[in-house]
């Protein structure tokens, strides 16, 4: 019986989470560890846009991005020096980091995390 009750509590919590408050595209990532504190908009990284152009292995194996939102601790200086996003956003593979607004396009107040309407919670969410 206790099992059943706790199960339905989980269910209710889930339904709460799943109400599409933000209907961001599935797998959009918001990065806002420092951005807003330092006076710029949070960064939005769209998986859908990048996976049309690159397989997962390019970022998550070759470039070594860990598959856990927030776990890759990098700063704007790393990007300008050609690491992380800067491995491609260098004016060669993709446009250079001087186009601030294209990355820093998020709403203020958003937490770092993965968004998208169809997710069941995603890693570490529940």
């Amino acid at each position: 019986m206790r099992h059943l009750v706790s199960g339905w509590l989980v269910a209710l919590a889930l339904i709460g989470l799943c109400v599409p408050q933000a209907v961001a595209e599935y797998a959009d990532v918001v990065l806002n560890r420092r951005a807003e504190k330092e006076g710029v908009r949070p960064v939005i990284f769209p998986h859908w846009f990048h996976r049309i152009r690159f397989r997962c292995k390019v970022c998550h194996a070759e470039l070594g991005f860990k598959m856990r939102v927030g776990s890759n601790d990098f700063k704007m200086a790393d990007i300008v020096e050609g690491r992380f996003c800067g491995a491609c956003h260098n004016g060669d593979i993709a446009w250079a980091p001087d186009r601030c607004d294209l990355c820093h396009s998020g709403k203020r107040g958003l937490p770092t995390g993965i968004f998208g309407g169809h997710e069941t919670g995603g890693p570490g969410r529940w």
Partner: protein
């Protein structure tokens, strides 16, 4: 037809919730415009420059969940041709072998296809921190998957979501219907036909 029973009521309830969610979100439009998606700042000058998801994704083989795109098919049919490396000396590894998982449960057997995964991913994305490279060596659990571990590291976050039970549970057991009905209340249309 065989009726199957879930191991724990809590798991059943959790899964029911997922399905209910799917039912509610599929009512929304397929792709939300950036200025209404709740994460982009509608006043950002980038809104007019960034590509709208619908502009790119509506041209690809459609799906009923996630990005509403059948990514594996889009890749195999050549609708997209994403790069597999950006450095000339990177070794591109593809492995063709299916692994059958969940041989003892009540749900249909899970067929894990290496080929489709390694088209997108490298071995180090899974081996050995998520799964051992030896059949039967990993202890799987659907609850862990739903919590975002094991298969749930990607499925539910970036790859097709966990609501699509029968894409993983794709091999019927002897005497089992290919997509047995689930013994829980499921909103109509929540489990879309494959």
């Amino acid at each position: 037809m065989r009726v199957f029973i879930f191991p724990a009521d809590s798991l059943r309830a959790a899964i029911a919730a997922c399905l209910i969610c799917l039912g509610s979100v599929t009512l929304a439009e397929d792709w939300t415009p950036l200025n209404k998606d709740g994460i982009h700042d509608p006043r950002s000058p980038a809104i007019k420059q960034l590509q709208e998801p619908a502009a790119a994704l509506s041209k690809l083989i459609p799906d009923t969940a996630g990005n509403m795109v059948r990514w594996v098919q889009a890749l195999e049919k050549g609708e997209i041709n994403p790069r597999a490396s950006i450095r000339p000396d990177t070794k591109i590894r593809v492995y063709d072998s299916d692994v059958l998982l969940n041989l003892k449960g009540g749900m249909p057997i899970v067929r894990f296809p290496h080929r489709q995964h390694t088209l997108w991913l490298d071995c180090v994305n899974c081996h050995d921190h998520l799964f051992k490279a030896e059949t039967g060596a990993t202890k799987f659990s659907m609850l862990k998957i739903l919590e975002g571990e094991q298969c749930g590291v990607c499925h539910g976050a970036v790859s097709f979501p966990l609501t699509e039970c029968f894409r993983c549970h794709s091999v019927a057991r002897p005497g089992q219907a290919p997509k047995p009905s689930l013994p829980i209340a499921i909103p109509a249309g929540a489990v879309p036909p494959k």
